[in-house]
């Protein structure tokens, strides 16, 4: 095969990898530069817009009249616009930047035909724009995590297929013998999402199921987007970056492989725990509860492995922006997953269901775990793509402290407030009558916690602004003379200095 394979050669299911194509890391980075930057810039844009939507929705929870005169900005629409901007706009864009890049590096293969990835990036962002515009306009579909109007779906599917195929092609033409655990996670995620999305589209949109089946499918899909898409991507990134940055192999590679297969076996079942108490066959709920508790195994495996890899290198980790963010996310993966397992227990769920506790749990998973790890990945990737340092260390610190403390405040406020809310909704007098006869009284009691949520949202917005300024400053700054152009170590090492 020539050094510039044709599209047909790249898509061919047969053929052997040519060792002469084995790429150095700098070459992989260079091949991914343009598409990754397109996805990254788009991701940052959606992150900022999604945060503004979030703040508006949070303020409306305590002040319902805020921007209440415009139907486009009513709570239901703004809240769904926030969710979709974050999941499809920020989350998927940043995944499409980071996942092919890591897959290419681990496969030692240049990313081929990147113009197709560029086209995919443009189409994807058009689809998200159309989808969110549709939600704000009032065309929203009333299915959790599938709110975008159906006219946005074809572009989403086509674009996703383009990116997914490119990750698989990078793996297909790998120039390495061993398949590293991150490759397992990334590959699995890129196979799992189309499976989830296709089943959900058929059973919820094109030929909508009714009643209990609809709820079951909805929660199977929504929970698995977190568990079989965002989670394996973030874990794959963490398993690559923690040992890579610290220069130390993962503590127990054996455990990491066990963790992967345990996630593949158990997570798929867990989503139905959202329907505890609903008119769902008891065995389905029991299966979901058992699977949720079984998730303790991969969670502890990952937690132990990450912790023991970092032991003794805490100072170096603290000095690395990447490790600060990634370890924050990894630690929160342990906490949010154990909380999730507890929430799947019937007696706990009786209290937490229909309260802000669940909202806190969702933010804990998607932000404190997934998003923080992806921030870490961006801090590692961008200097290698652009061959220049981050322009401002202070802004990175502002980002970490504001995002980290902001999300912790949000999780604590929503989960403590939600727990109290659940206890009040369930509280009964001795004669069996409700202690709180007026539901609105319980709603009023949540106000202080919701104010804290707005405050936490403001902190996170400040963090995101610092991140955004640093990203665009870096893109438009010039590389200083004398800086190395190797894929790593842009500043001089101790020996070189």
């Amino acid at each position: 095969m020539s050094s510039n394979p044709s599209l047909l050669q790249s898509l061919s299911p047969t053929g052997d990898a040519d060792i002469s194509l084995k790429a150095r890391l700098g070459e992989v980075d260079a091949s991914m530069r343009k598409p990754a930057m397109l996805f990254l810039v788009s991701a940052v844009f959606w992150l900022l817009l999604g945060t503004v939507f979030a703040l508006v929705a949070a303020i409306k929870a305590t002040n319902p009249d805020f921007l209440g005169g415009t139907e486009w900005l009513t709570f239901g629409r703004v809240r769904s616009a926030h969710l979709n901007a974050m999941i499809f706009g920020w989350g998927n864009n940043v995944i499409f930047a980071v996942a092919p890049w890591i897959m290419g590096r681990l496969s030692r293969a240049r990313i081929r035909h990147t113009s197709i990835l560029l086209i995919a990036g443009i189409f994807w962002n058009i689809a998200v724009t159309v989808g969110i515009f549709g939600i704000l306009r009032g065309d929203m579909i009333g299915v959790e995590w599938l709110e975008m109007p159906s006219y946005a779906a074809p572009l989403i599917i086509i674009t996703y297929a383009l990116v997914g195929v490119w990750v698989i092609i990078a793996f297909r033409w790998r120039q390495t013998d061993h398949v590293y655990v991150s490759q397992w996670y990334l590959l699995a995620a890129f196979f799992w999402l189309p499976w989830l999305y296709t089943v959900a589209q058929i059973m919820l949109i094109f030929e909508p199921a009714t009643g209990v089946v609809q709820s079951l499918t909805n929660w199977w899909f929504a929970h698995n987007v977190l568990g079989l898409w965002l989670t394996p991507i973030a874990l794959g990134v963490a398993y690559y970056l923690i040992p890579k940055v610290l220069g130390r192999p993962i503590h127990s590679y054996y455990l990491s492989v066990v963790g992967f297969w345990a996630l593949a076996l158990f997570y798929n079942w867990a989503g139905v725990h959202h329907l505890i108490g609903g008119p769902v066959p008891a065995w389905v709920i029991s299966a979901g509860t058992v699977a949720s508790v079984m998730m303790v195994i991969p969670v502890l495996v990952v937690g132990i492995n990450h912790h023991l890899t970092v032991v003794g290198l805490h100072k170096e980790g603290w000095a690395s922006p990447t490790i600060r963010f990634v370890m924050f996310g990894a630690i929160n993966y342990t906490f949010v997953s154990l909380t999730g397992s507890l929430m799947a227990l019937r007696h706990v769920n009786e209290v937490t269901h229909f309260t802000h506790f669940t909202v806190g749990h969702a933010h804990h998973g998607v932000y404190a775990f997934f998003t923080m790890i992806m921030f870490g990945a961006v801090y590692y990737m961008m200097p290698r793509l652009l061959l220049r340092e981050w322009p401002n260390a202070f802004l990175i610190k502002v980002h970490w402290w504001m995002a980290g403390m902001g999300i912790l405040l949000m999780v604590v406020a929503l989960q403590v407030g939600g727990w109290i809310q659940g206890l009040q909704m369930n509280a009964l007098n001795e004669d069996g009558t409700p202690v709180y006869s007026s539901f609105i009284q319980i709603v009023e009691n949540t106000r202080p916690w919701l104010w804290l949520r707005s405050l936490s949202g403001l902190m996170i917005l400040i963090g995101h602004l610092a991140f955004g300024v640093n990203v665009f400053w870096m893109i438009f700054s010039r590389r200083r003379a004398g800086e190395q152009t190797a894929p790593t170590l842009l500043s001089p090492t101790t020996e070189q200095a």
């Binding site: 061993h178 398949v179 196979f191 890579k244 940055v245 220069g247 993962i250 000095a319 500043s491 001089p492």
Partner: protein, 67 residues
């Protein structure tokens, strides 16, 4: 569609899913991916980013060699 058809769709996709997982596991076993795992852990390091080298720090901070 009635329950039976939904279950059929779900069953077909579940079979595909498990078949895919089983094939992946079989492939991994046949190609020695599940043996000598500790060596595999070092596969991410190379001459560009060697083991023992810290490869990230805040800008304008020097990096140290670690063993």
């Amino acid at each position: 569609m009635d329950w039976g058809q939904y279950i059929l769709i779900g069953f077909v996709f579940a079979c595909l899913f498990f078949l895919g997982a089983a094939l992946a596991l079989h492939w991994a076993h046949r190609h020695g991916q599940l043996t000598n795992l500790e060596k595999g852990a070092q596969s991410i390091f190379d001459e560009d980013e060697p083991m023992g080298e810290i490869t990230d720090a805040f800008p304008r901070k020097r990096r140290k060699k670690k063993n």
